[in-house]
Symmetry: none
Subunit: 202 residues, 4 copies
Amino acid sequence: MGGANVRDGHAAAVGEGRRTRRHDPRRRERVLDAALEVLVEDGVAGITHRKVAVRADVPLGSVTYHFASLAELRAQAFAWYVEQRTAEYEALFTEVASREDLVDVLVGQVEGGPSRYRSAVLGFELHLAALRDPALRALTQRWTAASRTVLARFTGPQTAARLDALLEGMIMQALLSTDRQPSECIRAAIMQALGAAGGPGT
Amino acid sequence: MGGANVRDGHAAAVGEGRRTRRHDPRRRERVLDAALEVLVEDGVAGITHRKVAVRADVPLGSVTYHFASLAELRAQAFAWYVEQRTAEYEALFTEVASREDLVDVLVGQVEGGPSRYRSAVLGFELHLAALRDPALRALTQRWTAASRTVLARFTGPQTAARLDALLEGMIMQALLSTDRQPSECIRAAIMQALGAAGGPGT
Amino acid sequence: MGGANVRDGHAAAVGEGRRTRRHDPRRRERVLDAALEVLVEDGVAGITHRKVAVRADVPLGSVTYHFASLAELRAQAFAWYVEQRTAEYEALFTEVASREDLVDVLVGQVEGGPSRYRSAVLGFELHLAALRDPALRALTQRWTAASRTVLARFTGPQTAARLDALLEGMIMQALLSTDRQPSECIRAAIMQALGAAGGPGT
Amino acid sequence: MGGANVRDGHAAAVGEGRRTRRHDPRRRERVLDAALEVLVEDGVAGITHRKVAVRADVPLGSVTYHFASLAELRAQAFAWYVEQRTAEYEALFTEVASREDLVDVLVGQVEGGPSRYRSAVLGFELHLAALRDPALRALTQRWTAASRTVLARFTGPQTAARLDALLEGMIMQALLSTDRQPSECIRAAIMQALGAAGGPGT
DNA sequence: AATGAATGAGTGTTCATTCAT
DNA sequence: TATGAATGAACACTCATTCAT
């Protein structure tokens, strides 16, 4: 893992393709994506310049150059995640027309497709990190506000908050339990949180 | 929570403090308590032999002697926490006689006394760690089972699970939001999850 | 690998059989045998109290008790080896009646049976260690004297010395080369070193 | 053997010495030379990043930076030695014109000049290390091939192999025995191995 | 006589960060 | 602007040795 070990420092531009990438406009984003990958795998404390650089296939100096410190890299990675996730989340609900649609989407949320693990882990990591680093609170608040706003379009603010809490808890449970809960239970819990009534409420 | 961390009475009493502490039973527990303190402050990845040793006022070698690896120290600290927390949690409900009592206790749970931060952080850290380390799953399952069993005495198993998820989500929200949610909302959410009916149900 | 990690220090005399071995007269030898095993595998610097204790299935304290220091353990292990090896070596030649027999035995020496690796490694380790630690010279001299004395019964002292050197070199070559040398070459080399003449000579 | 280890002329020239040594080409070689020094003194298991760093007058991080692991440092140090030693060895024989010259050089080899100890120890260390680490076999084979090729120019391949073995054995004996063997014995042994005949043979 | 808890020095290694180029 | 060599602090872990029992 040491950085060197190359006989020749100049590293002959032969090999695999590294070299000669100069002027790479999307490098920042590639680095941030790499940081998120590391985050998912190793947690917030597992982010290191080196791991991210390797993931992003970018020289080490490039990471320290674009991000003044690890804390900044971490913060921007989370910001980048929240931005993407917000858009993604909103997109999920654009087609929702009825209460049934809503419930379907939310159940799907808990039961999870392939990316549930990733987004759940990132979400929890962000929450936990924000608990300790107030600088990240702005992000969690932005994310919370965004998700509740989306939900509130169908339910009213209070129910949205409840629902949000319930979903977070159920997702964690789903990820941790060995035997998955039957869909009906999840559906029932969500419907209960939505309230008996039909339209937007409290 | 026990008063473990205080210097043992029979200790040196010399100037510096360390020296001649040989033969210190309960050292393991002191170390585990210290590990939990570090865990609360710095997270699961922040646990290091050195930090724990300093916290426990114990030489570095003592930590590595009693715990073969950091992973083991982590696991045992979590186990120690779950054990304590389970007892504590059950104690909370011994006096519960009516549904009103139950709701009161649960609301208090979310609004939190002084130790809510500690137990919430430890709980989330454990959940997140268990997501990555299957060896910790046994602990989360034991903890989940214990807390649901307690709740189920009043509600039936399904409602207990829902409640559990809701509480976890609301506690995280409460810890992260700057302005605390009014008690009534919390109470309402809990009552809704408990269901309209009176007795133990699903 | 830490020594502790047992919940109960007293370690209930149930399990596998460790406990209750008190008064074990051959313990010293068992420890020395274990030390030699470690020596073969990990080299002279790989000997540690712990590894030896595990190998010998003996408590750690037992090793430090019987051997005041690691250096002493090492020295005594080598001494124990030389003692065994000397007897073994002499036994090899008791049946030798003719020059042909002698050559056969020596060729077998180089080509090696199953234990050649072990004895060669131990021999080289001892030589190398003695180069640095004069306290071990007595052992190498004893061993050299013993082996030459045996050979000299058939060849005279000078030829014995030559033969000894040649055998050591050839054994190392045999151990290191991937393709084994044909027996005839080995035989020819040995016969050359023995000299053309028949009886004991120079 | 080059005078690498001296402080570079262009260095700090301040008081303490260290500081501002940035940009030091040839540092790798200085580290390897230092590693060989340590190897001679303390053996293959005595090589540590720290000892080498001190010997090379280089910060610790510099060693770990240039060599990803200790195993790699070890391997490269051995490789560096074999490279140097091969050239040196070949040089020894460039002036050899007659069989007498050859014998003289070989006897000198065994009786040793000032650097015999160093090269012998390094050679034996390499052999022993290669016995355990197959990754080093390539080096021992390269070295063996090189030395035999040189000898074979005068003797033919089989005699070269014999000679090689004999020399290795005799050098070890010479290093270990307190009273040096008379030159005539060494000479006689070598001549015997060379065979009675005059020209290159088997 | 025998043991294992205890401890501090030392190990290999990783890393954030700096800085000459 | 961009990079990778450089460095010192910190890390997890191993160990010889001591010593109370």
